[in-house]
């Protein structure tokens, strides 16, 4: 929304210049991204520079995030660049998560003893930086244009990363991803252009947007909104835009998969929350009903799909579809407590998913295989890895005493509150079916520890995990337990960032 003072060119320019001061983290990321590419041209053989460089970029970004956090934790957000993006504590919180993911993915890559690390070039790290940058902008977007651009930045970089093993499978997966992505982006763009046509503004949080849309006949509005939301569903890998997930996860390098399963997803949920929260949707309950169905179907398809999988990465891919369904439950509650539970869930999900993929990485290194049948007996051989696997899997399944249990408990109690105040039968069904899904999911989450502990197999162990692996595992496992016993502080922080639904 433009004020009088800013309607003149010079006024606008001044606002733009003023905005620059608020995007230090993004500037660092962009500069870092370009610098890494340039370094790549000069030091072709020294991929370690890329690793160090990207980690230091992320730490620097965390520093600037922290500065912003101090400034914004107690005040309203600030709209920047003439309504393109909005910087608030919500965005900053998620930015922290993205940087942590960025650092973790570099750590995971370090453990990748396979072909990948040797063939890695600095570009690999620069692309990761680019995805983090895209996710940053996604969480701040309050404008259809910036939404589109940031989603595209994340997507294009993801297509490249998918094929980074430079083999046949990788290339195939990359193309598949590209095709699915291009299609869903096209759909989203079509929806966005309709919305723009209807409302005359791109800023979806502005009152103009809402008021003008009220004048549009409901069917047309629903179509436009649905098409737009499709793009978000794709990024969150929710049904019916989940089809790409298993194939991409299977073919991509493990660290990249861990990254894919967390960062774009979290960013997509933030943008979905912002989009839905901007009050124009309050009238169209149909969207919520559709999302409720999406949540249930995602849980069922994800969990049932995972049961039959033999490849652990495919299994985790289906699990991530189901988890996305659970996260969506937080939005269905349409309350700030619901949003808090969603953000808490995403935070926990980040930790447990990275832990899961770190374990996959370690097991892959030991056995040289991604097939779960080859993990037989490993739990007894490497007790610590086995126990960690149990903790991570029960956390993913939502079993006490792990943070995963608390996350599910909270998200379903938010849903229950919503059901109590709205008495919508659909929400009750989401509640009951969602909880029954816990049992289905337990079936395959337990499969890995089951094979690791209950079966024995002699196989050649090509590699022995060292203290670095154990150390990083511990770092990831401990929060999963601590957050169960003491989540007050984190919830308190998240409460302060929660979107207000009214």
């Amino acid at each position: 929304m433009l004020t009088n003072a800013s309607s003149s060119i010079s006024g606008k320019l001044e606002l733009l210049l003023d905005s620059l001061g608020y995007i230090m983290p993004e500037i660092v990321l962009s500069v870092g991204f370009i610098a890494l590419i340039l370094f790549g041209l000069i030091f072709k053989k020294h991929a370690a520079i890329g690793a160090l460089g990207s980690v230091s970029i992320f730490f620097l970004t965390i520093y600037f995030d922290y500065q912003q956090w101090i400034q914004f934790s107690n005040q309203e957000g600030k709209t920047l660049f003439l309504g393109l993006i909005k910087l608030d504590s919500l965005a900053i919180y998620f930015k922290f998560l993205f940087e942590i993911s960025g650092i973790l993915v570099v750590v995971l890559t370090y453990f990748y003893t396979d072909k990948l690390r040797k063939s890695l070039s600095i570009e690999y790290y620069s692309i990761i930086t680019a995805i983090v940058l895209g996710a940053h902008i996604m969480t701040m977007s309050v404008n259809l244009l910036s939404t589109y651009i940031s989603i595209e930045l994340v997507s294009l970089s993801s297509y490249i990363l998918t094929g980074f093993l430079f083999n046949k499978n990788g290339a195939e997966a990359g193309i598949k991803y590209l095709l699915f992505g291009a299609l869903s982006t096209a759909i989203m763009l079509y929806g966005m252009s309709l919305l723009y046509g209807f409302s005359g503004t791109l800023n979806f949080t502005s009152p103009d947007f809402y008021e003008n849309l009220q004048l549009i006949p409901l069917p047309a509005l629903i179509i436009a909104l649905t098409l737009t939301i499709c793009g978000f569903l794709f990024k969150a890998s929710l049904v019916p835009f989940h089809l790409w997930t298993p194939d991409i996860y299977e073919a991509s390098p493990t660290p990249v998969v861990a990254f894919f399963s967390v960062v774009p997803k979290a960013a997509a949920f933030v943008i979905l929350a912002r989009f839905i929260n901007s009050n124009f949707l309050s009238g169209s309950e149909m969207i919520f009903e559709a999302l409720a169905v999406v949540a249930i179907v995602s849980m069922f398809l994800g969990n049932l799909g995972a049961i039959g999988q033999k490849n652990i990465k495919r299994m985790l891919a289906y699990s991530s579809i189901a988890q996305a369904g659970f996260i969506l439950v937080g939005l269905l509650a349409e309350s700030s407590w619901g949003f808090t539970t969603m953000a808490f869930y995403i935070t926990v999900y980040l930790i447990m998913n990275f832990a899961a993929f770190l374990l996959v990485q370690i097991l892959q290194n030991i056995t040289g295989s991604e097939n779960m049948q080859d993990f037989k007996g490993l739990g007894l051989q490497y007790a610590f890895i086995g126990v960690s696997m149990v903790v991570v899997m029960i956390s993913l399944a939502g079993f006490p005493p792990t943070a995963g249990f608390l996350a599910k408990l909270f998200i379903f109690s938010a849903l229950w509150e919503a059901y109590q105040s709205s008495a919508s039968t659909l929400l009750l069904w989401v509640f009951i079916l969602g909880l029954l899904n816990l049992i289905i999911s337990m079936f395959y989450y337990l499969k890995v520890p089951f094979l690791m502990f209950f079966k024995t197999q002699e196989g050649n162990r090509r590699w022995q995990p060292g203290w670095k692996e154990y150390f990083s595992l511990t770092i990831l496992i401990i929060p999963l337990l601590i957050l169960f016993f003491k989540s007050d502080k984190l919830i308190h922080i998240i409460n302060s960032i929660a979107l207000n639904f009214n």
């Binding site: 309350s335 007894l380 007790a383 089951f450 502990f453 007050d488 308190h492 409460n495």
Partner: protein, 579 residues
């Protein structure tokens, strides 16, 4: 000063587990002795606790929050925005409903620790899991906060899953997964109700503090609580100031339910045609009936029992099943008393069916351990029948039956274990005339079998007679159960006697013969370790058979109060629902 005796019961095994974690896995003896030491300390604490429980007219009325040795601390306290606050407490306490179970847990785990001496595979892992299981069983009996209870209750599955799956018999994989998923289904039912309950219930004392009526939780008077409850019922407390709680005593008071919430008394909600509160009772009941296990939710039990290693079978039959019965009392009947009255006929019916069906199955079993497993189903049916009757004899009988069955079934599974340890074969038909080979063992078996079939002089007799009296009385005093339930249940005594006597005749009497000739060499009589397990158990069966008042004196007060509470509240709630 609050005492930490209850926490000690939970944390002693955990503490030992932590220390044993540091021991090298080659040092197998250290894990065995460490676990034995932990369970003996626990048993000692439990005995001290048992001897110090105060009995008197105005004591032990658990329903009014009159618990003893209470420990209550804030654990998790969250701001839910518009929905007020959420408070989860570390809340422990004992009354007549759980004190016997606590003592039983300590006894059975002590015996199971001795019985675990023969574990050879992955000793370290086994004993660590054993200790964790110990803590979580103890915790679920002591917890008075629903969340805390659920945590222990659900967590218990995990060590159990591994204990069966790694150290079990041939079909252990199948049995452990079936056990896990089956009981998880029950937990999810309970979880559904738990979420619904805590959003409906407030803690009046903490709400008083939150409202600013009182400064400190310690200063809250009964007057303040009443005031808050009145204000709540008049809808004067805005949602954002309510403090929601998981405390079970708070959930038992209908005045703590937010008006218009799902489980409030006047709630208009109904699920599948049942009013919300009755539906909740049903789900809770099914959840715990799976654990109990009651027919038709029992199919996991024979598999789990048969495949589990002996000490784990002992724990499973001795204590784990009792959590089902205890949960029905503590959560099902206490929180939703009208459900207990409305569904009394069905609860009793399931009890009777379990009694008869379990006994008939036991009669048909060829595997000794399976026979004992089905006898457990049959005996746990008495617990349901006793509970359903809602008479003083019935409730006393049900709790006493749980205690007594804990002792007897532990001994029964040890019997199966003794044979299995020696020959790895449990088929009844493969043995004959063992009395000559193993005279001392045969005496132990005959005593245990007779105790289990309800011979006077043993604890099982007292429990069963009380249950029969209670269920028969019910027809006269409160009309909840028809008389034929008791008649049919009593018939089961014949069946029980049938399968036990027949087993004794087939296995122990007659000419010595075994299917495999080498068995004769292996079948040596009891060793010292085994004496050490059987003698205490048999002594206790006698002791509580001859002096049941040792236990009943304590149970009785709480049971009496429990019945008054359930009947009064249940009937008034039911009247309210029917209006």
């Amino acid at each position: 000063m609050t005492e930490h005796i209850l926490s000690a019961l939970i944390f002693v095994p955990l503490f030992f587990a932590l220390i044993l974690l540091l021991f090298p896995s080659e040092n197998k003896l250290s894990f065995k002795t460490g676990t034995l030491l932990a369970t003996s300390i626990q048993l000692f604490i439990a005995l001290v606790l048992f001897s110090r429980v105060q009995v008197g007219n105005n004591l032990l009325k658990g329903v009014d929050g009159n618990f003893q040795f209470v420990e209550k601390y804030d654990w998790i306290s969250l701001n839910l925005g518009n929905f007020g606050r959420l408070s989860i407490d570390y809340f422990l306490g004992v009354d007549g409903l759980n004190i016997s179970m606590v003592l039983l847990t300590a006894i059975v785990l002590f015996i199971a620790a001795i019985s675990s001496w023969t574990i050879k595979k992955f000793t370290k892992g086994y004993f660590l899991l054993f200790l964790v299981l110990d803590a979580s069983i103890m915790g679920s009996f002591l917890a008075l906060d629903f969340f805390l209870f659920f945590l222990f209750f659900e967590f218990m599955l995990l060590p159990m899953y591994f204990l069966i799956g790694i150290w079990g018999g041939i079909r252990r994989n199948y049995a452990s997964i079936k056990f896990f998923l089956y009981t998880l289904l029950g937990s999810v039912f309970i979880l559904i109700i738990m979420i619904g309950l805590y959003t409906s219930v407030i803690d009046p004392a903490e709400t008083a503090v939150n409202l600013g009526i009182v400064d400190n939780l310690k200063d809250v008077q009964e007057l303040n609580v009443k005031f808050v409850q009145d204000a709540l019922q008049k809808e004067q407390i805005p949602a954002s100031l309510q403090v929601h709680t998981f405390s079970i005593p708070a959930m038992m008071d209908v005045k703590n339910y937010v008006p218009g919430s799902f489980f409030a008394l006047g709630s208009d909600y109904s699920v599948l045609g049942l009013p919300a509160r009755l539906f909740a009772f049903l789900l809770i009941f099914i959840g715990f009936a799976i654990k109990l296990p009651a027919v038709p939710f029992h199919t996991w039990l024979p598999d789990a029992h048969v495949e589990a290693p002996t000490p784990i079978s002992v724990i499973l039959a001795g204590i784990l099943l009792k959590i089902g019965g205890y949960g029905i009392l503590r959560i099902g009947y206490s929180i939703f008393p009208e459900g207990g009255i409305h569904f009394a006929w069905w609860v009793g019916f399931i009890g009777v069916v379990s009694i008869i069906y379990g006994a008939l199955n036991a009669l048909a079993m060829k595997d000794l351990k399976k026979l004992i497993a089905y006898s457990s189903v049959s005996h746990m049916g008495f617990v349901l029948l006793g509970i359903a009757s809602m008479t003083i004899e019935g409730i006393n009988g049900a709790i006493f039956q749980m205690f007594s069955h804990g002792l007897i079934s532990s001994a029964l599974f040890l019997v199966a274990g003794v044979i299995y340890d020696r020959t790895k074969d449990r088929m009844i038909e493969n043995y004959s005339g063992l009395a000559i080979l193993m005279p001392a063992f045969t005496v132990a078996v005959i005593i245990t079998f007779f105790a289990s079939l309800g011979l006077p002089g043993f604890s099982g007799f007292v429990a069963e007679v009380l249950v029969f009296l209670g269920s028969f009385n019910s027809a006269i005093s409160n009309g909840l159960l028809p008389k034929w339930f008791t008649v049919v249940a009593i018939m089961s005594l014949v069946l029980t006697a049938g399968y036990y006597l027949w087993t004794i005749q087939r296995m122990f009497l007659g000419k010595t013969w075994t299917r495999n000739k080498e068995f004769v060499v292996d079948l040596k009589d009891l060793n010292y370790r085994e004496y050490f397990m059987f003698v205490p158990l048999i002594t206790l069966m006698f002791l509580f058979g001859i002096f049941p008042s040792l236990m009943l004196n304590i149970i009785n007060i709480s049971a009496d109060h429990f019945i008054d509470f359930v009947l009064a509240n249940g009937n008034s709630n039911l009247n309210f629902l029917n209006k």
